[in-house]
C-alpha cells in the first residue's frame, strides 16, 4: 500500500467524495488558493472551483450556521474551521442549532454536515490557538465527535463522517498532519463508534486519543524493554464511544490509564474513566484508574513550557509503571 500523510488522507477523502457527490462542498476561511491555514485543501479549488471550495469571510458564526442551513436543506457541507479554538464563536450554531434541530422538530429534518478543525498544541501558537476542546462537543447530545490519530483512520473516518446524516465534529491534530501511514487509494469507511486496538498487550490498558496514541505507542515500546506489555486503545470516536472494546481490554489487563492532551480537569478522560468504573470491568480492576491530561493552564508560548503543559512519553511511562506496581 501507498504511504501518504494524514493531511493528504484528509484531502483525499474529501476529493474522492466530492467527485462522486455534487452535494458535498467545503466552506471555510482561506481554503481557496491559499489552501487553508495548514494546506489541507491545497489544490482543491483548482479541481473543484470556487463554488464548491468556498472561501468565506472571517465570520465563524455565519459560516457555521450557513453550513447548518445548507445541510438542513439538502447539501452535505464540510466546514473547515481554521483553528478549533474558534468554535467559541460558532458555538451557538453548532450546539443550539445543528445538534438540536432534529430533536426539537420532533424527529424531522437532519443536519448532515462535518465540521473539520485542527486542534492541539505543539506549534508555538500559544493560548488561543492550541486548545483541545473536544470535551465540550462530546457533552452535547446530537453531535458526533471524531478524533483520528493516523492517516488511515483519518481517511476512513472522514468518509464515514461525510456519509453520516448528523453533525460530526472532526478533530484533526496539527502535529499529525505530516505523519505518514499506509492508506488505500480507494474510498473506504471506518464506522463511527468503533475503537481500534493500536497495540495488543496484557498488562495494562492505555486509552489514548489523537496525538496521545503515538505517545502511548512510544511509551509502550520503551516499557516492553522492561517487560511491561501495554495494550493501546484508540477510541477514534468519542461520541459514540466504543465502550465494549475498552471494557473487554480492561477485563483482560485489570488496569486502565486514560491519556489525552486536553486539560485533565473536566476533560473527556473523566467520562471514559467513569464509564469503565461503572461497567462490569470494575470488578476486574487491580489498581485505580489513572488519567493523564493537560495541566490546568492556558497553553504557554515558550516551547519548553508548551511541551511541559501536556502529557509526554515519560509521563505515560511513569503512569504505567505506577499502575502496574500498584499493590
Amino acid at each position: 500500500m501507498r504511504e501518504i500523510t494524514y493531511l493528504e488522507a484528509v484531502r483525499e477523502a474529501m476529493s474522492q467524495e466530492m467527485r462522486k457527490n455534487d452535494d458535498v462542498f467545503i466552506l471555510g476561511e482561506d481554503i481557496g488558493v491559499y489552501g487553508g491555514a495548514f494546506g489541507v485543501t491545497r489544490g482543491m479549488i483548482e479541481e473543484f472551483g470556487p463554488e464548491r471550495i468556498r472561501n468565506t469571510p472571517i465570520s465563524e458564526a455565519a459560516i457555521a450556521g450557513g453550513a447548518v442551513g445548507a445541510a438542513l436543506t439538502g447539501m452535505r457541507p464540510i466546514l473547515e474551521l481554521q483553528f478549533s479554538d474558534f468554535i467559541t464563536i460558532a458555538m451557538d450554531q453548532i450546539v443550539n442549532q445543528a445538534a438540536k434541530l432534529r430533536y426539537m422538530y420532533g424527529g424531522k429534518g437532519s443536519v448532515p454536515m462535518v465540521l473539520r478543525t485542527p486542534a492541539g498544541s505543539g506549534t508555538g501558537a500559544a493560548a488561543q490557538h492550541s486548545q483541545s476542546l473536544e470535551a465540550w462537543v462530546a457533552h452535547i447530545p446530537g453531535l458526533k465527535v471524531v478524533q483520528p490519530s493516523t492517516a488511515y483512520d483519518a481517511k476512513g473516518l472522514l468518509k464515514a463522517a461525510i456519509d453520516d446524516e448528523n453533525p460530526v465534529i472532526f478533530y484533526e491534530h496539527k502535529l499529525l498532519y505530516k505523519t505518514k501511514g499506509d492508506v488505500p487509494e480507494e474510498q473506504y469507511s471506518i464506522p463511527i463508534g468503533k475503537a481500534d486496538i493500536k497495540r495488543e498487550g496484557k498488562d495494562v490498558t492505555v486509552v489514548a486519543t489523537s496525538i496521545m496514541v503515538h505517545k502511548a505507542l512510544e511509551a509502550a515500546e520503551e516499557l516492553e524493554k522492561e517487560g511491561i506489555d501495554v495494550e493501546v486503545i484508540d477510541p477514534r470516536t468519542l461520541v459514540p464511544l466504543d465502550e465494549e472494546t475498552i471494557v473487554n481490554s480492561v477485563k483482560k489487563t485489570g488496569r486502565l490509564i486514560v491519556v489525552h492532551e486536553a486539560v485533565k480537569r473536566g476533560g473527556f478522560g473523566g467520562e471514559i474513566a467513569s464509564v469503565i468504573a461503572e461497567s462490569e470491568a470494575f470488578d476486574y480492576l487491580d489498581s485505580p484508574i489513572k488519567r493523564l491530561g493537560g495541566l490546568p493552564i492556558p497553553i504557554p508560548y515558550n516551547p519548553n513550557l508548551e511541551k511541559a503543559a501536556v502529557p509526554q512519553v515519560p509521563d505515560i511511562i511513569d503512569a504505567v509503571k505506577e499502575t502496574v506496581r500498584f499493590k
Binding site: G69, G74, Q93, Y103, M104, K144
Partner: protein, 327 residues
C-alpha cells in the same frame, strides 16, 4: 369585481380573502394561547404576535410555495402564514404527541419543513445564518427558491445578523431579510438600542438594498417583499426590509410592560393591521362587511377546533424520550 389595487398577479381576490381570514387565524390563535397561559394550562413560555399579523401574512403572501422561511421565537404568525395546520400547532403548544414536534419542541421550535418553514428559533438571531445556508442550497442546486428570513429589531444587534447579511451579499444569495421592528426587544426600546432611525439603513454596510415600510400595511408589505423576493430569485442577491409594527401584548407570559406607556399602546392599537386591511378590501369591493364577518367567524371556529384537537390529543409517551436525537 375589478381590482384597482396594484398587487403581484398571484394575489387574486380569492387570495386576498384568504389573507384576511389568515390574519384572523393568527390573531385568534395567539389570543387563545394567551388565555391558556394566563390560566396555567400551557407550560413554558410563549411570544405572541397579536398586532403584527400583517408582517407575517403579508410578507409570506409574496412568496411562492417552494420558497422557504426561517422564523423566530415570535413565530406563530409566520407558521400559519406558511400554511401550517393550526390544530397541530396548538397540539404542540399543549405538548401533545400530535403536535408538529410531537411535544418535544413547543412554541419556540415549531417547524414545518414540508411547507418550507425551516423553523422557529429560541435564539435571538439564531435563524439568520440558517436562512443564508438554505439560500446557498437553492443557489448551488439551482432550486429556484428564495428564503425569507424573519427576525426582530433586537436581533439586528446580534453578531449573527451582521455576519449573515455580509455573507449573503458577497455570495449573492437568494434571501430576503425581514426585520420585524416592533419597537422593543424583551423590554429594550429600539431607540435606546440602536442609534439610527431605520434598521433598514444597515443594508448599507453590505451593499444591498434596504427599505423601511409600514409593517401594518398589508398592501405595501406584499408589494415590497414581492419585489425583493423576485429580485433575489433573478439572481440579484439579498436585500433587507424593515417592517415597523408593534406587539400588542407583553413580551412573553409575565410582563408588566413598565417599559412603555398605555398611551403608546393605544396609539398602535388604532393602527390595527387587520382593521386596515379590511377597510382596503371593502373599499376595493373585494369584501362586504358581511363576508368579512363570516371569514372572521370561520377563523374563530378553526381555532376553537384546533383547541379541541389539542385537548383531545394524547400526551407523548416517555418511551419516545431517547428517539429523534440522531437521524
Amino acid at each position: 369585481m375589478e381590482k384597482t389595487l396594484t398587487l403581484p398577479s398571484h394575489i387574486t381576490t380569492e387570495k386576498l380573502k384568504d389573507l384576511y381570514k389568515q390574519m384572523w387565524l393568527i390573531r385568534y390563535f395567539d389570543e387563545k394561547v394567551d388565555q391558556f397561559f394566563a390560566k396555567g394550562m400551557i407550560h413554558g413560555t410563549t411570544h405572541l404576535c397579536v398586532g403584527q399579523e400583517a408582517s407575517a401574512a403579508g410578507a409570506i403572501a409574496a412568496l411562492q410555495d417552494k420558497d422557504k422561511i426561517t422564523s423566530t421565537h415570535r413565530g406563530h404568525g409566520h407558521c400559519i402564514a406558511k400554511g401550517a395546520e393550526t390544530d397541530r400547532m396548538m397540539a404542540e403548544l399543549f405538548g401533545r404527541e400530535t403536535g408538529y414536534c410531537k411535544g418535544k419542541g413547543g412554541s419556540m421550535h415549531i417547524a414545518d419543513l414540508e411547507k418550507g418553514n425551516l423553523g422557529a428559533n429560541g435564539i435571538v438571531g439564531g435563524g439568520i445564518p440558517l436562512a443564508v445556508g438554505a439560500a446557498l442550497t437553492s443557489k448551488m442546486k439551482k432550486e429556484g427558491y428564495v428564503v425569507l428570513c424573519f427576525f426582530g429589531d433586537g436581533a439586528s444587534n446580534e453578531g449573527s445578523f451582521h455576519e449573515s447579511l455580509n455573507l449573503a451579499s458577497v455570495w449573492d444569495l437568494p434571501v430576503v431579510f425581514v426585520c420585524e421592528n416592533n419597537q422593543y426587544g424583551m423590554s429594550g426600546p429600539v431607540k435606546e438600542m440602536v442609534n439610527i432611525e431605520n434598521i433598514a439603513e444597515r443594508a448599507g454596510s453590505y451593499g444591498i438594498p434596504g427599505k423601511a415600510v409600514d409593517g401594518n400595511d398589508m398592501v405595501e408589505i406584499i408589494n415590497t417583499v414581492y419585489d425583493a423576493v423576485e429580485n433575489a430569485r433573478s439572481g440579484n442577491g439579498p436585500s433587507l426590509i424593515e417592517m415597523k409594527t408593534y406587539r400588542w401584548k407583553g413580551h412573553s407570559k409575565s410582563d408588566a410592560k413598565k417599559y412603555r406607556t398605555r398611551e403608546e399602546e393605544k396609539e398602535w392599537r388604532e393602527k390595527d393591521p387587520i382593521q386596515r386591511f379590511k377597510e382596503v378590501l371593502i373599499e376595493e369591493d373585494i369584501l362586504t362587511e358581511e363576508q368579512a364577518k363570516n371569514l372572521q367567524e370561520e377563523a374563530k371556529q378553526e381555532i376553537d377546533d384546533a383547541v379541541k384537537f389539542a385537548e383531545n390529543s394524547p400526551e407523548p409517551s416517555t418511551d419516545t424520550l431517547l428517539e429523534d436525537v440522531y437521524a
